[in-house]
């Protein structure tokens, strides 16, 4: 028998044994019942057999290509090393090149603009969510992808934005448009407040502290009934009005849809410009090597705080959209899972890549919406996805395809290709 198949059978047996008590048995010792769910075991056994086979196949292939790469590197040390692209890499590159084609972008824009006209309010609402996550992903991408600061507490800024609108509206009667910039600025301020104490922390410690920050913010909201309304949340948050006109539920959703489109487009443009600017390069230098970055005369403190602030700003903005869209906020909407979801988008898309974020959001948010059976398993698959991505493709779907600066600058208009 093929040794790979044998190994896969062993793996399947091992995982069946491992998952047997939890998957098959369900015991209620008070009612004195024991449920036996053998069909689950069959599913696990067959599933792990295939997964294990494919898993080890790719693991071997990864190892082989790494060895070849080193061999190539030594052989032609003096020459420019050719970039060895795998087929997947090629497909992804082609796919991402497609997004540069102007007609395609135009068609896409028309489709986005026309979408609510032929769709139900429900569909429109799903697309609003998707676009919100695109902006959240882009914002977190500044912090994690560009500046390399692993932030597990991004959801806290999202919460701050949503609550800012809810409270401003409840207490002072502020509207959507005034609250929008205030919430963005407030979230950015909190970003700096979080940033200052964690300046010296790196990597995993930073991750844990930001996670702690998220939990603190959420728990404070949950427990501070008098001011923040506790676990029950704040209801009746209005949607933006259209020049004083009262829109119906459907109408206001469509209006919110267009607002979100505009905000998303602005976010994409702004973050793209930042990416290829002086501060964007400083972020990436910080990510690559903090010591060398500082030796280049870059103020790492300021660079980090800018990243935290500009990242948090977008979370605050999207928070306002969230509050308006669901007309209700409570702390349960902003658990660690929310942060995890947004980070999944960045990780899957490829740290630092704007196109990657958009592609990943479409896959992670839209796919489960339309494939109902996926929804229940969504978080399970997310977890598995994180591990798989890190093991096989830590750079994400679209590895940060570096911006190619035009080498012979024409007067003006020299940085339009990304």
């Amino acid at each position: 028998m093929n040794s790979e198949i044998r190994k896969s059978i062993i793996a399947a047996a091992w995982f069946s044994l491992l998952s047997f008590p939890l998957i098959v048995l369900k015991v209620d010792y008070i009612e004195k019942t024991i449920d036996l769910r053998w069909n689950n075991l069959i599913f696990i056994a067959v599933g792990t057999f295939f997964v294990s086979y494919v898993w080890r196949y790719f693991l071997r292939r990864g190892e082989k290509s790494r060895q070849e790469e080193t061999a190539v590197g030594i052989a032609i040390d003096q020459k420019k090393r050719p970039s060895v692209d795998s087929p997947t890499q090629k497909i992804l590159t082609q796919l991402s090149n497609l997004t540069q084609s102007k007609p395609l972008i135009a068609i896409l824009l028309v489709m986005i603009v026309a979408f609510p006209l032929g769709s139900s309010t429900y569909q429109t609402s799903i697309i609003i969510s998707t676009m919100m996550y695109i902006v959240l992903g882009l914002g977190l991408n500044i912090v994690v992808g560009m500046a390399g600061l692993l932030d597990l507490g991004y959801g806290a800024f999202y919460l701050i934005g949503a609550y800012a609108y809810a409270l401003l509206n409840l207490n002072y009667g502020f509207g959507f448009w005034i609250s929008l910039p205030i919430a963005g600025m407030l979230a950015a301020t909190f970003g700096v407040l979080l940033g200052i104490p964690v300046l010296r922390l790196r990597g995993d410690y930073l991750a844990i502290v930001t996670l702690g920050f998220h939990e603190i913010v959420r728990l404070v909201v949950e427990n501070w009934d008098e001011v923040l309304h506790g676990p029950s949340g704040i209801p009746n948050i209005p949607k933006p009005g259209f020049f004083g006109l009262k829109l119906g539920f459907n109408g206001s959703t469509v209006y919110l849809y267009y607002i979100t489109v505009v905000i998303m487009v602005i976010a994409i443009i702004v973050i793209r410009r930042l990416h290829i600017s002086r501060v964007g390069r400083a972020w990436m230098a910080l990510r690559e090597d903090e010591v060398a970055c500082q030796a280049m005369g870059i103020d790492t403190t300021k660079t980090k705080l800018t990243a935290f602030a500009l990242g948090a700003f977008w979370a605050g903005i999207v928070g306002v959209i969230f509050a308006a869209k669901s007309s209700f906020v409570n702390p349960a909407s902003f658990t660690f899972y929310e942060s995890a979801m947004i980070l999944s988008i960045v990780v899957l898309g490829g740290a630092g890549s704007i196109r990657g974020v958009i592609l990943a959001t479409l896959i992670l948010i839209l796919l489960p919406e339309y494939m109902r059976f996926l929804k229940e398993y969504r978080m399970l698959l997310f977890g598995a996805l994180w591990v798989t991505m890190m093991v096989f493709r830590p750079q994400g779907m679209i590895s940060d395809a570096r911006h190619k600066y035009e080498l012979n600058p024409e007067p003006d208009g020299n940085e339009n290709k990304s």
Partner: protein
């Protein structure tokens, strides 16, 4: 006089519940510290191993209590099963999520660890239940402890004593045995350990299994004491135990014990004398403050980067 008595007994109550929490934190903190010592990674999924251990225990204890076994037998078998299974989970988690990433940047390993943690939580939700379930009270109340029950909760005393025992056993294991020596040498210098013929892979696996065993032990004790579990118990306890490990100085075994007890006691007194609403906020704030002002912990040194 009753006033003084009440104050004293309230204090004792808080003290013993603080020590109980503290020993649970210490048991888990040991898991974090051992793994960190050997591969320099925060094993984010450690809290989930604790949670899975509790659920395995629930199933074993449930079946046995339906079959009307003696309570001591149930406790013994439950502990054994939970610990064996937790070890198997710890072993597998390392093989799947960490081993392929040993040469990768630490951030990649951390993300993979968080992914594993999310996966295990969802796995338990889907396979068992997203709700709280009650856990049978398995811890006996022996006669000699009933004598002091006016002052101290007997189950708590048992938890503290048994945790201390198992921690002492662990210390002996690390000091005296070959595996313990291998673990210590790898944490000093992995390359060198490799050259000296120490089986690094095996030792890392052993470390994960050891940590998981301690976690499952803690999980069963505390589940039987509190009387209910759900898929989320690992997350909070995990973060707090990590706090304990950092408080003591991550990588240091004595530090983990000390950190666990200090955190447990302060938490217990703070919630007992002030307010319990902010119990978790309190623990997280401690974590953040230590990491910012004394990242090396109570015992331990900071590693500086060579330029």
């Amino acid at each position: 006089m009753t006033g003084t008595y009440d104050i004293l007994s309230y204090f004792l109550e808080l003290f013993s519940s603080g020590l109980t929490r503290g020993s649970i934190y210490a048991l888990l903190a040991l898991g974090y510290t051992l793994v960190y010592g050997v591969i320099g990674l925060i094993n984010f999924a450690h809290g989930e191993v604790y949670m899975v251990g509790a659920f395995i225990g629930l199933i074993v204890a449930g079946i046995m209590s339906i079959m009307d076994y003696n309570i001591l037998a149930i406790l013994f078998v439950t502990l054994t099963f939970a610990m064996i299974y937790a070890a198997a989970y710890g072993f597998t988690i390392e093989k799947v999520a960490y081993k392929p990433l040993r040469q990768a940047p630490r951030l990649a390993a951390l993300i993979s660890a968080i992914g594993m943690s999310i996966f295990l939580r969802e796995y338990v939700i889907l396979a068992q239940t997203p709700d709280f379930v009650s856990f049978p009270a398995l811890i006996p109340k022996p006669a000699f402890l009933l004598a002091i029950k006016n002052y101290l909760e007997p189950t708590e005393v048992l938890i503290i004593l048994s945790s201390l025992t198992i921690m002492v056993l662990l210390l002996i294991l690390i000091k005296r045995t070959k595996v313990g020596k291998a673990m210590r040498s790898i944490s000093q210098d992995r390359e060198m350990a490799l050259l000296l013929g120490i089986n690094v892979n095996k030792t890392i696996s052993m470390t994960f299994m050891l940590g998981s065993v301690l976690a499952a032990f803690a999980a069963i004790l505390i589940a039987a004491h509190i009387g209910q579990i759900n898929y989320n118990i690992g997350f909070i306890v995990g973060i707090k135990s990590f706090t304990a490990a950092v408080l003591g100085g991550i990588g240091s075994i004595r530090g983990a014990l000390l950190g666990g007890l200090v955190l447990g006691l302060t938490e217990s007194f703070a919630t007992g004398y002030f307010s319990s609403d902010y119990e978790d906020v309190f623990a997280f704030s401690i974590l953040i403050l230590i990491l910012i002002f004394k990242p090396s912990g109570l015992i331990g040194t900071v590693a500086t980067e060579k330029v």
